[in-house]
Symmetry: D2
Subunit: 250 residues, 4 copies
Amino acid sequence: MRMIKVGVLGAKGKMGAQTCLAVEEAADCELVARLDQGDELDELTKAGAEVVVDFTRPEVVMDNLAWCIEHGINAVVGTTGFDEERLATLRSQLASSPSTGVLIAPNFSIGAVLMMQFAAKAAPYYESVEIVELHHPDKVDAPSGTARRTAELIADARREAGSKPIPDATTTALDGARGADVDGIRVHGVRLRGLIAHQEVLLGDEGETLTIRHDSMARTSFMAGVLLGVRRIGSTPGLTVGLEHFMDLA
Amino acid sequence: MRMIKVGVLGAKGKMGAQTCLAVEEAADCELVARLDQGDELDELTKAGAEVVVDFTRPEVVMDNLAWCIEHGINAVVGTTGFDEERLATLRSQLASSPSTGVLIAPNFSIGAVLMMQFAAKAAPYYESVEIVELHHPDKVDAPSGTARRTAELIADARREAGSKPIPDATTTALDGARGADVDGIRVHGVRLRGLIAHQEVLLGDEGETLTIRHDSMARTSFMAGVLLGVRRIGSTPGLTVGLEHFMDLA
Amino acid sequence: MRMIKVGVLGAKGKMGAQTCLAVEEAADCELVARLDQGDELDELTKAGAEVVVDFTRPEVVMDNLAWCIEHGINAVVGTTGFDEERLATLRSQLASSPSTGVLIAPNFSIGAVLMMQFAAKAAPYYESVEIVELHHPDKVDAPSGTARRTAELIADARREAGSKPIPDATTTALDGARGADVDGIRVHGVRLRGLIAHQEVLLGDEGETLTIRHDSMARTSFMAGVLLGVRRIGSTPGLTVGLEHFMDLA
Amino acid sequence: MRMIKVGVLGAKGKMGAQTCLAVEEAADCELVARLDQGDELDELTKAGAEVVVDFTRPEVVMDNLAWCIEHGINAVVGTTGFDEERLATLRSQLASSPSTGVLIAPNFSIGAVLMMQFAAKAAPYYESVEIVELHHPDKVDAPSGTARRTAELIADARREAGSKPIPDATTTALDGARGADVDGIRVHGVRLRGLIAHQEVLLGDEGETLTIRHDSMARTSFMAGVLLGVRRIGSTPGLTVGLEHFMDLA
C-alpha cells in the first residue's frame, strides 16, 4: 500500500495530538512530522510531507498555508477564523500552484456533516422543520454553532425551493417557549448534565415526521473526518470549503 | 360479573360521545343514561346510575355535582374550571353524603399521569432536568398545560428534597434559545405538522441520562383513564383530585 | 396556473379514494375521471386525462397501463406486483410511445424514501448499522417490507464501498436477541399497541452515532408522494421505478 | 457536618478506585481506609470505619461481610455472586448484630433502577410492552443482564395485576425478527460502535405510548448510587437487596 506522508501543525494541541495518534494508527498514512510553536516549517519538506493537517490558531494559519502552497504541500485545515477575504487570498495563492489542494473544514464530524446535508435536502419536502440541540450545561453559548449552521442551510434550501413559511399558530406563549429564530427556523437548546453534544432535526408534514439525530460522544469522532480529508486532498487541487464536498452525497 | 351502571352527562360532546362508546364496550360497565343539554337529571336515578361521568361545561358542572352528591351517585369529572373555592364547596357537600365519591381529573391520560409522577419522583436524583413538549402547529399556547404542570411537580419535588439549582453556564444566547422558565425548569415547545401531542422529560447527571417520553396520538387514549375512574370511584368516598390517586404508584 | 388533468383508477379503494381527495384539493390539479371496476377506460380520453393514478390490483394493472401508454397518457402507479418481466414489458411498450412516462412506486411515502436514501448514503461512513422497525401488533409479517428494503439498500451501498463486515462480539445470546439478519444487516421488529408504522436506522462509529427515524401516522402521508409523481411524470418520459428518482437528492 | 467514615475493600479495582475518588469528593464522607488483597481487615476498626464499600470478588466477599457484621460495621456491596443461600447466611449473621446494615446492590446505577421500577409500575396499565437494549459491539452476551431483569420485573408486575398476554399477530417472520422472549416480554439487543450502555422500555396502548429510556455513558454514573447506599445504610439495619429500597419511590 502506498503510504500518505503526513505532517501535523499544532501537534501539541488537543486536536493536533489526537490527529497524530489517528495518523499513526491509519494503515495507509505515515506521520513524518509533528510541529508546534517554535518549530521550523521546512522540517515538512525535509520529511517529505505530502499532506499537512493544521490545527493551529487564526493568527498563524495563513502564514502556514502560504508556505505549504508555495512548497506544493496539500493542506487539511481545522483551524477556525476563515472569512471571505481569507478564502480569496487562498484562492489566489492556489492559482499559482495548480496541483495543490487546501481543504478548510469548519466541522470534521462526518455525522454532523451528514445530518446537515440530509436536513437541507429533506427540508423542502416538509411543511415544518425545527431543531433541538442538546449539550452539557457548561456550554456558554446557545444555540450551538452547528445548530445555527444547520438552520441556515435549511433556510437556504427552502428559499431556493420556494417553500412556504413554516406554520405556527402560537398566540399565547411564555417568553422563550418557542425557541430562538435562526433565519426563520426555530432552534431549541437543551442543557443537561451527562450529555456531550447532540442534535435533532425534526421535519414534519401531514401524517408523518422524519427525524435526523446526531450524537457526538467523544473528540475521537472527528478523526474519521480528518483522515477522509487527508486521503482525498491529494486528488482535489484548489480550494475546498466544507468536508461535505469530499463525501459522495450527490 | 357485576355491571357498573353508568350515566354520561354531556353525551353529545366529543369527550362525552367517546365515553358512551367506551362504557358500552367495557365488559364490566353498562351505559344506562346519556344526557345532554335540556335533559332532566332525574333520568339518572330512574335508570339506576351508580356512577356519572361529567364532560359538560364549567357553568353547569357544579349544579350537576350537587345533584349527584345529594342523590348518592358517584361522579367522575373531566369538565374544567375547578379552583380551590369550588373544591371546598364539593368537600362540604360530600361531608353530608359520606359514602359518595367525586373524582376531579384535569388529565385522563394514564400515560401523561405516569410521566408526570415518574418525572417528579426521579427529579431529586438528577442534577439537571428539562422538558421538551412537541405538538401540531395549530396549537395556540406554548408551552402546553401538561408541560407547565410537569414543571411545577418537578420543581415541588426538588424543593422538598432540597435539590440545588440546575446548572447552566449559558452567557451568550439568542433570544429564546434556552426555552421558557417554568418555576426554575426550562421548557421547550416544538410545533411540527404531523405531530399530535408529545412530551419528553430529560433528566441528567454525571455520565447518565434518563428520558421519559409520552406520545399521545388519539383522543381514545383518554378512555382508559375514564374507565379507571369509573371502576374505582365506587370504593373511594370523598373528594379526589387527580387520577394519579387511583393508580398504584405508591 | 396550468391545471394537470388527472384520472384515478381504483377510485373506490382506500388509496384511490384518498388520491381523489388529494387531487381535488391540489391547486394545480383537476380530477377529470374517477374509475373503478366495470368502468370503461375510454372515459379517460373523453375527459382529457393527462395523468392517470393507478391503485388497482396486480391482475388488471398491466392492461390498464398498456391502454394508457397506447393513448399517450402518463401513469403514476401504486399497485403492487411488478417483477422484472413486467417492467421489461412496460419498457418495450413505452419504446413505441416515446413521450409517455410511467412511474412505478413501491412506496409513496416521501419520508420513507428519504430515510432509505439517506441511510444508504451514510452507511459506508459507519462501522455499524442496524435497523429497528416498530409497528402496531396486528401486523402479520416481521420485519416490515420497508425495513427489508432499507437493509438491502444499505448492504448494496456497503458492498460497493468495500465496507468491512459489521462488528459483533456476541457469543452468548438468547434466541432472537440480536434480531433478524437481512443481507448482513441486523433488523429488529417491535410490535406495540398505539404505534402505526415507524422505523429507525442507527449508524455508529467511534465516539458518534447518527439516527434516521421515520414516523408514519396516517395514510394521508402518502398523498404528497402521489402528487409529486403526478407533477413530474409529464416531463419524465419512459419507465421510472422508485419515487426517489423524482426527488432532488443528487 | 458530621462525616461518615468510609473504608473501601477492593480499592485497587476499577470500581473500588472510582469509589475512593467519589468518597473523597463527597462533602459528608471521609475515606479512612483503602484495602485490597493482602491487607488486614482490622485496619477498618483501627481507622474507625462506620461503613465499608465492598467491590471485591465472590470468593472473598462472604468472609469480608462476616467480619464487618461481627464488628458492627455497615456494608454496601457491589460484588456479584449472591444467591438465596448466601443471602440466608447474611440474614442469620445480621440477626446477632441487630443494629448493623448490609446492602447488596446488583446495580448501582440510579437511572437503571428508576427505569426498572417505573417500567414495572407502568406495565399493568398497558396492553403492550417491549424492551430495546443498545450496547457497544464488544459486548459478548445478548440481551443484557439489565434487560433480562427489567423483563422479569415487568412480567411479575403483569402477572400480579392479572394483565392479559401481550398481543402479537405475527405469522410470517424472519428468524429473530421479533427479538428474544424473556418471561413473555420481547427483548431486542442492538450492537453499535459508538454506544456504551442504553435501554428503552416501550409501553403502548390504544392511541398512546410511554417510553422510558436510560443512557449510561460512563462508570462514574454508578457513584451516585454507591454514595446513596453509604448515606442510608447507617439507618437501615438488617439485610437490604436492591438499591431501589433506599429510593423514595413508594
